[in-house]
């Protein structure tokens, strides 16, 4: 088993245990993006060990769809930003691990509050412009839900980034085709996401299997190589909601529902402990 595979199993365990512990949180989207987080944080991003808000001389990541905080928190802890045991405080009172990520409690690794959807791309653009003004060659990464694209602010941001050649920016869309009320096409059909980005002037990359570590790695490396060429970049990443826990896969029902004791046991049986539970 590679170190990335180990991380995937362990982060999945963290996710289901965290949401189970206080019977709340969002396991579906978190599990669907686990491979993306592992590749981005442990292979792709140029990061410093110590967290510093300004992120000078390093790559920066923003999570726009803040409800998938379990995968974000587990990744940050496993990457060494804060003690792994702190994952046990998820959504508890007096915790730095709020239901949705925030800078407010000073959790290392988080640079903006997110949760109210549609705001992260604008923030990512701002940070990208800041990097350019500071003469840095680092990259801004961000993750967004596909349902989140229903928020209008995204399209203001998509228009702006292309018109102003924000080319140190790689936005990834978690394209699981699911949102709380059901399938995207039934709630509000987004149509062809790729052609929309393309027509706004973005470089688009289709990632057919966002739950395959090699494919994710390849797509992110390709995107990285395409930076600084006058265009913002979007990766449309197809994922399966709930990936890695069979009964959660491919249904919107586990968007924001926690497993019970028996369901947790099943989920853990499907994902062996590789790096020690918190």
């Amino acid at each position: 088993m590679t170190s990335s595979q180990k991380l995937v199993f362990q982060i999945r365990r963290d996710i289901v245990r965290m949401v189970h512990s206080n019977n709340s949180g969002h396991p579906g989207g978190s599990l669907g993006c686990t491979e993306f987080f592992v590749v981005l944080f442990f292979e792709i991003m140029k990061r410093k060990n110590e967290f510093e808000m300004n992120g000078f001389d390093e790559d920066i990541f923003f999570l726009s769809n803040g409800h998938i905080s379990p995968v974000f928190y587990s990744t940050l802890a496993r990457a060494g930003y804060f003690p792994i045991e702190e994952l046990s405080t998820f959504r508890n009172i007096n915790s730095r691990l709020q239901g949705h990520p925030t800078t407010h409690e000073g959790l290392p690794g988080v640079r903006i509050a997110s949760g109210s959807l549609g705001q992260g791309m604008s923030v990512a653009i701002g940070a990208a412009l800041s990097k350019k003004m500071n003469g840095e060659k680092n990259i801004i990464y961000s993750l967004h839900g596909d349902g989140e694209l229903q928020e209008g602010q995204n399209w203001e941001a998509i228009m702006y980034a292309a018109a102003n050649k924000v080319d140190n920016l790689i936005c990834t869309i978690d394209n699981n085709n699911k949102q709380i009320d059901g399938d995207l096409k039934d709630v509000l059909d987004l149509g062809d996401i790729e052609s929309k980005f393309k027509s706004f002037g973005w470089l688009t990359i289709n990632l057919e299997n966002g739950n395959d570590l090699d494919d994710v790695s390849q797509a992110l490396k390709y995107a990285k190589n395409k930076c600084f060429n006058g265009k913002p970049i979007v990766i449309i990443m197809k994922t399966v909601m709930g990936n890695g826990v069979d009964y959660m896969m491919g249904t919107h029902k586990w968007h924001g529902v926690a497993p019970n004791d028996k369901e947790l046991e099943t989920a853990l049986n499907q994902n062996p402990e590789t790096l020690k539970d918190y």
Binding site: I60, G120, S130, G152
Partner: protein, 317 residues
């Protein structure tokens, strides 16, 4: 008039424009963003002088607030510029999450606030912005009274690390506070000393309050005028000290009486020293088209309203 002199009418938004250029000349991290209202916000000089630090966002205020929040990561100090309506109500959630809750060093600079925006009418005349902004934890809310004070405030907020809402207006109004004054965030200024009634005022109503105090003097009433340019954090000490002496208070502002400076003062006196109070402001209404001076009269934002309120509150002592 109490030693005050009008150096010549000027608009507070021009004070912002001049202050922005001056602040930027001293701090290279200051950047400015505008949502297609560069001329109206008087940001042209900044744009021409610092083209690489000016960002034309287009008619997309939500994106502007988000970009500004992001720019602070990398140590920039963004000043966003658009009308007060589009600086607050339109982008409340963006300010709440990406700026206030995230504690980002963004300066939200809002012109054409209040009813003196005039002819464009109620769609653009926001009278609720102070209320919305002061309710956000950690947000500093500043509403200067003239060109010089707006200029000084614009420069001073660049030295303060945290979110600020800076509110100013469209019309040319008397410019009477000192040039190159020292602006202290959260510090009220006693403009006129008096003993019978305290007038706590902000923004365009400050000059009217001084004029009112002058007219009240002729009637034998001694009014103390306190300029509160920073509505949050409120200078509690200067207000409490004054009402201790006068025993009654009138608030005056170009804002809905619900949610404005008056409400902050009322909350203060209820908790400390209960005295009679009257409110000069817009009485829970939307505005309408018209000349600023006519609108001020019609909506009760005149000298007459201040004087009436002072006489009324004195009778309740």
């Amino acid at each position: 008039m109490f030693g005050f002199k009008n150096y010549g009418n000027n608009d507070t938004r021009s004070g912002f424009g001049v202050g922005l250029v001056e602040a930027a000349s001293k701090n290279k991290d200051i950047v400015a963003l505008c949502a297609d209202l560069t001329g109206s916000l008087k940001m042209n000089d900044f744009k021409n002088k610092y083209p690489n630090r000016f960002f034309q966002i287009g008619i997309a205020e939500a994106n502007m607030i988000g970009i500004a929040a992001g720019m602070t990561i990398g140590k920039k100090i963004p000043y966003t510029g658009t009308f007060a309506n589009f600086s607050t109500g339109r982008v409340y959630d963006q300010i709440r999450q990406s700026v206030a809750y995230s504690n980002k060093n963004v300066k939200i600079c809002a012109s054409h606030a209040g009813i003196t925006l005039g002819e464009d009418g109620a769609t653009h005349q926001i009278l609720e912005d102070i209320g919305m902004m002061k309710m956000l934890p950690g947000m500093v809310v500043i509403n200067p009274c003239d060109f010089n004070q707006t200029k000084a405030a614009t420069i001073e907020i660049s030295k303060y690390n945290g979110p600020v809402y800076l509110r100013f207006g469209r019309p040319k109004v008397p410019n009477f506070t000192p040039e190159n004054q020292n602006f202290e965030i959260g510090k009220g200024i006693r403009l006129v000393e008096g003993s019978d009634v305290t007038i706590v005022c902000t923004g365009h109503l400050v000059w009217h309050s001084i004029e009112s105090a002058d007219l009240l003097k002729e009637k034998g009433i001694s009014a103390e005028v306190i300029n509160i340019h920073t509505i949050k954090p409120l200078d509690e000490e200067i207000i409490l000290k004054s009402i201790e002496k006068t025993g009654c208070v009138v608030s005056a502002e170009e804002h809905n009486t619900i949610g404005g400076l008056g409400e902050s003062v009322a909350s203060l006196i209820v908790k400390n020293k209960l005295v009679p109070m009257e409110f000069v402001g817009v009485n829970d209404q939307f505005g309408e088209s018209g000349k600023p001076s006519d609108l001020m009269k019609k909506y009760g934002l005149s000298k007459e309203s201040i004087i009436d309120s002072c006489e009324k509150v004195l009778k309740r002592k």
